[in-house]
Symmetry: C2
Subunit: 874 residues, 2 copies
């Protein structure tokens, strides 16, 4: 028996989404619920995959099934495809398993040709309508199916309007439109090298192929990557008989949601337009009416529609987003789907549906997209204020949230503002590690250069402050303290505002409001905690970050990067002294200066955590990161350090590396310079002892990075234990601590059984592990990975979502070897993957104890962790 590639709407149902796509399955479902749906059929996602397997060809078998289905629609509607007397016209729409808005435009009115259009005119008694439909169809077919630029057609239309001295499309008469059809067909023939296809069957098959092709256009590939949609899902094609909302004043078309998609409020929301086709609602030429006005205009249709809304929400148990058309007073449903919504609305709807008894808590949690919570956690502009504001420039949306304040050109100035409690935006050409204090003092950072992984972007995301990077038309005159944005000048002290979620820059003050983590958010998070097994910790380097993390539900710190503290002004000098030291005595002297500062930081951190676990990582980055690179800085800093410029240059030269990522960093630093590990151990445990003395409970977990061989860990552990023993004897008091390691080098995962014998915990550094496992560095790969996505070699960014097959294999292996050797071994992730929902679910699946992510991603990770548990029981 032949495989079935085409399903009539009445043959399908909502649970056939994988085969029929979302749109097709829902049209089938509405049909079987007895709702008024213009009949049609769906070409399956399997047909799409077959199309690609066959070398981008539609086989005769599939074509045959299409025409068989078409015949059935003809007999059902009593209309005939291509028949001028009683023509069947169809729409052709894509529809994949997941909603992919804008992947491919819809083609309407397919089946029209020079003869059929005349029939349509006769049948409807409306020549203008017929020819308007025809010219629209030619334009859509040319654009969407054949890739001829739509501007060519629009230009032609504009020419006619200019010639006639009119401005609106509706001012064109029958003849104008007839002429336009002739011109459109000429454009088509010229650009395509062949005539516009008059045969409806050819039109239909070409349209189906175009939908399949669109599955792999650049837009679709990018959308799939961002939304974790696999390429092998494919898209279905829906062919539906046309109904016309533009047949006159008894006709119309509209879009509606069963609840408010912005607020979640339980009230019908949407708009409609009489005597119009779908595209007119969107085009903005005419202003649509609020849906509620339909009640006055046509109470019967409105009532029918409201009933349908209730029926659909009851069936789908979720807020619905629907399209409808009224043809000569009769209501038709063209689409329904679970509606997209803001995060605020998502929470409210989920909670309301539970209290309405429609869904369970578990189901409610599964309805919320974890990633969407991000937008709830950052400050936003006050809506009223924003409406009046004007966008001055754009940049990359480098770190989400809204920020408003006076301009600071230097980090120093930003710190001054912070002291005086004045909100400020730090504006820099680009930031460097020395700017870190200034960044922490600002409510936002705006840079002229740099991308999504630039210093400014990475640090701002970590701090949870807004950042727009690579702002267009931004120039900074540091000498005269003048900032120019798109030719508009600002002085230090002038207000600007930035939107790090959208990348917008405003040359004015726009008031912001803090995110609320109470209300619905708190309700949902409380439900989350009923299910979650995986613990969620945060990556935080300061007491301030730690406080925020705990507010957002972190149960501890999974990664405190000690080197971030080194970049502050006093400290960077000391660390530089340590680096340029020529003997042990000089080195220990420099480290002696750092010790009280580090200890002070850890003390504050432990106080904030009040007994929650805190994983502190020993210094990790290559030392050259602490040295200057600019010629003028070198001379100045050399002087500062009491060295000649030549001496400092020599040290810089010595530390230069071919591949810094694979160089002198991580535990390698402590092996070559054991004094570093000794000082840091004294700082960590000294602070812990101070807290304990004061009665504050502490739980320090000391973490050694970049281990590749167990002997590295043994060597450093010996130093740690010896230092700890010495310190505790000096203080005359004991404090418990554990020593663990990062697993971020493939060899560590492979030899995890040996390493586990020496480690109390494993923390997967998935960033580095991904880099080493794939053999490409994150920064360098960005350039060629674009091509990988385009050529379908990669479907998702392995730096965002854990590569389960390769990196995941090493993780599983490390967990099983490690727990085999030490059943009590605690395992977690620290690294950006810790805040990615798919990766969190993977972490749950392989039995990790916790994930650690940036504070603002903690709620995302918590929800993802709960969903992982719920999916197992569903």
């Amino acid at each position: 028996m032949q495989k079935k590639f085409v399903y009539l709407f009445k043959e399908g149902s909502a649970d056939m989404k994988n085969l029929l796509g979302g749109k097709g399955a829902n049209l089938s479902q509405m049909t079987s619920l007895g709702l008024p749906v213009p009949q049609g059929f769906t070409v399956t996602t399997e047909a799409c995959n077959k199309y690609y397997v066959d070398g981008e060809k539609l086989t005769p078998e599939v074509e045959k099934q299409i025409f068989v289905a078409l015949k059935k629609i003809e007999s059902e509607t009593g209309k005939v495809f291509g028949d001028a007397k009683n023509p069947l016209l169809v729409s052709v729409r894509s529809g994949s398993r997941a909603s992919m808005p804008g992947m491919m435009d819809t083609i309407l009115n397919l089946g029209l040709n020079d003869k059929v259009v005349e029939g349509l005119a006769t049948l409807t008694g409306n020549v203008r309508f017929a020819y308007d439909s025809y010219r629209r169809f030619i334009q859509m077919f040319a654009d969407v199916v054949m890739g001829i630029k739509r501007e060519l057609f629009e230009d032609e239309m504009d020419k006619i309007k200019v010639a006639k001295g009119v401005t609106k499309d509706t001012d064109l008469n029958d003849l104008d439109l007839k002429n336009l059809v002739i011109k459109f067909k000429k454009i088509y023939a010229k650009h395509k090298g062949e005539e516009f296809p008059e045969q409806p069957n050819v039109q239909l098959i070409e349209a189906v192929k175009a939908v399949f092709r669109s599955w792999n256009n650049e837009r679709a590939i990018a959308y799939r990557r961002m939304n974790d949609i696999p390429a092998e899902w494919g898209t279905a094609v829906n062919i539906q008989s046309m109904v016309f909302g533009n047949m006159g004043d008894e006709s119309g078309t509209g879009v509606a949601f069963t609840r408010n998609p912005a607020t979640g409020e339980k009230a019908l929301f949407g708009e409609y337009l009489m005597n119009a086709q779908g595209e007119d609602v969107v085009a903005g030429i005419r202003t649509p009416n609020p849906i509620i006005e339909l009640e006055k205009q046509n109470p019967a249709v409105f009532k029918e529609f409201v009933d349908i809304c209730d029926k659909l929400e009851d069936f789908y148990k979720d807020m619905q987003d629907m399209e409808f058309t009224i043809e000569n007073g009769k209501l038709y449903m063209l689409q329904t789907r679970n509606g997209k919504r803001t995060a605020t609305a998502a929470l409210k709807i989920a909670i309301d549906l539970v209290s309405e008894g429609k869904i369970s808590k578990k189901e409610a949690l599964m309805k919320i997209e974890p990633r969407s919570l991000d937008s709830l956690l950052h400050p936003t502009f006050k809506q009223d204020a924003l409406k009046k504001a004007k966008v001055l420039s754009h940049g990359l949306a480098a770190s989400p949230g809204a920020g408003c304040g006076i301009i600071s050109i230097s980090p120093k100035q930003a710190m001054k503002c912070a002291e005086r409690k004045i909100q400020t935006i730090l504006v820099r050409t680009e930031t460097s590690p020395e700017d870190i204090e200034g960044m922490a003092a600002a409510t936002g950072v705006l840079t002229a250069t740099g991308g999504m992984t630039s210093h400014a972007a990475v640090v701002a995301r970590g701090m949870g402050i807004a950042c727009v990077a690579g702002c267009e038309g931004l120039k900074i005159d540091e000498k005269n303290k003048v900032v120019t944005i798109n030719n508009k000048s600002f002085k230090e002290g002038d207000y600007i505002s930035i939107d790090g979620t959208l990348g917008n820059v405003y040359g004015e003050k726009i008031e912001t409001e803090e995110a609320s983590i109470s209300g619905d958010f708190a309700t949902i998070m409380a439900w989350v905690d009923e299910y979650t097994k995986l613990k969620v910790r945060a990556n935080a380097d300061t007491a301030k970050d730690a406080r925020r993390a705990i507010q957002l539900g972190a149960v501890g710190i999974g990664l405190c990067r000690t080197e971030h503290m080194f970049f502050e002004k006093d400290r960077i000098k000391a660390i530089r002294e340590m680096i340029v030291a020529t003997n042990l005595e000089e080195r220990e002297k420099a480290l002696g200066k750092l010790l009280p500062m580090q200890k002070g930081d850890f003390y504050k951190l432990f106080k904030e955590l009040n007994g929650k676990p805190c994983t502190i990582r020993y210094i990790d980055p290559p030392l050259h990161e602490f040295l200057p690179t600019a010629e003028k800085d070198i001379a100045e800093i050399a002087k500062d350090l009491g060295k000649t410029t030549a001496e400092l240059k020599h040290v810089i030269e010595e530390l230069k590396e071919f591949n810094p990522m694979m160089g002198f960093r991580g535990c390698r630093l402590a092996i070559v310079i054991p004094e570093l590990a000794r000082m840091q151990t004294r700082a960590m445990l000294g602070a812990a002892l101070d807290c304990k003395k004061e009665g504050t409970p502490v739980c320090p977990e000391l973490m050694v990075p970049l281990i590749g061989d167990v002997k590295e860990l043994q060597y450093i552990k010996d130093i740690i234990h010896a230092t700890a023993k010495e310190l505790m004897e000096e203080v005359g008091m004991q404090v418990d601590y554990t020593v663990g390691t990062m697993i971020e080098i493939p060899r560590a995962a492979i030899t995890a059984d040996k390493i586990a014998k020496e480690a109390d915990f494993f923390s997967f550094g998935t960033n580095d592990l991904t880099q080493m496992t794939y053999g490409f560095s994150r920064d360098d790969a960005a350039k060629f990975l674009k091509e990988y996505y385009f050529k379908r070699i990669f479907e998702s960014d392995p730096f965002v979502r854990v590569d389960e097959e390769g990196v995941g294999y090493l993780m599983r292996k490390a967990v099983s070897l490690g727990r085999g050797a030490k059943p009590t071994l605690k395992c977690g992730i620290c690294g950006e993957h810790g805040g990615d929902p798919a990766s969190v679910k993977f972490a749950h699946k392989i039995g990790l104890n916790y994930v650690s992510c940036s504070p603002y991603r903690v709620p995302i990770a918590r929800l993802a962790a709960a969903q992982a548990v719920i999916s197992e029981s569903m």
Copy 2:
């Protein structure tokens, strides 16, 4: 029962080497063969390991066993340790499982103190002898056991000689020596802060501990790393009763070999000195006599010695290296061991022992150290000429062999010399890829800067030409074409000679002779082929290298790096044009220029191979390697390419990478620039088709580098097959070829089952695989790995010897996954590990089909492969 940590010589035997060390086991064996051995005992290697486990302490139990054994020696010799009337004196020597020459100096005459020395003087009637022995002992004990500099003692001795106006030690009389003893003890007390230990028991225990400590001195660690000796073997200590060769004219001492260690000739070889202790033979103050003269001087002792030699060679079935002492006319054997020998001697001795019927062929092959063959394969200086020559400077022994020729300062000049068949040495500050043709034209390369992994070193090793890198005192004045070496000036055209095996530079002409690969070498290699299962191929990029490789026994080419060809003058311009091209047309035009050149190279290679397999790798290095870096070159080259300097700089900037090793290279190039793969496929298969047309058989194997995901390979394979099909249709002829991949990224090993479905063969790129698995780059790691060796974290260089635990795990995994998916999958190694004997044995063990190494290492790999098979059957 207590563990036995001390063995009397009569309790052991030759097969207890692991426990007693080589020296101890052989002393035991000689004892049980009934040879005259001064009796003593051995403290085991297990005691050494225990010493370290116990925190560098000797436990009372071990000390007790030592003194029990000592008592037995006392009763056997009738002498008493520390007894002034009839003193037992002992020597203390280290002795590990493998011979580690120079690891620790010997301590003689232990047991002497102020009283015992007087007894010794009375007993021997020789005051001078007694005090000379005493001052020697103090000096040795202070130096070797306590680490006090020996110069301090030598200075004191010199002072006395100057004061007395004499030059020889033997000119000092009893009183002088007594004074010297007093002075030596003062030096000891001053530097040690305590008196010289008079109690013999303390002397003994301190000496034993010093031997154990010496196991981990820097010299020993370095030696172990270079010779693959594990740290856990530990060393034994041999304590042997002293006999004295310096008791008068009837006494003497000597060293001898049963065969000539330089040539292998079967004739007693060695020297001796009457009235002397061991160190006098080495010290060079007196000239020793050839061993054969002993026959005249003392025929009875000589005969006894010759008999012993025969007995030992018969027992050990190998050439022996022995030490002996004659005390008052009686012969004592102090040591025997298998003698170190030159490679020439090793081959001759192995062959002779087989023809003498003493050993089998298998045993003969096991006696030859594969690495030693290296020295046989390169030109050497004629011995007579070398004797007269004077070393002018030193550098790193960067590529082995002797080279002599006139100086060329530029590659161009070197090429001119080659055209005129004049031998030349290319002298450069450092070399760069553009110099490659000049290097190929030279017989040797001398550079002023750069280390063992510098461009000059790596390329010269690959080409098999001599190279001395980082030569001290070398300056090159390119403008005036003058080379200065340690203040001596040379012009272009003057002769110099370099020894790349030793790192010596000579300012004169020294004639060289070519290596012979016939004679004994050919005999051994023929035996090798009887056992070897693993095939050995060579890495070769040119027909010339391929020819040499085949002469040395390669069965094919395992790696032809196509990019090496790109650096030649005409080609680098074309590749640069390709890189700076702004559109496909320009790019294809540039590639069009490269095509015939590459095709020509492959044609020559296939002709040379005449049907032997040839694995050709697609372009691998990052493109920036082909672009200039110096400001002046950029301007010039931009002009050459018809671009502005700014345009070229922009391209260079675009290609700049943070971590080039993990950047845009390998298969990533062909994915982004498919035209590159198309051109190279046309060149490879076009050349193959041309050969086939002419009747020359060909076996092209096309290899795609740096695969991390099967989809990368699929993408490129599609291009290869499509291009091949197109080409074969054009030519109207078919040619067989295979497509395989390198496994050099951890992820490729992990997903090898999927990759194997698309690949005909796997070639492990162990260099990159080691880098990624450990997470450090070879160039950058060199700096900190020194510290790793010193701290015993690493024992061998993973870039020399395959890390079996980590990298080896991935290799095993890839082979088993790969063959599981495709049982016929061919697997091999290309990369420097392919020529390392231990790695070759590992390759055999995990079932690889072949290894591929540089041509000059082919015999080494063949022998190692044979040994791997033989060890399995032994």
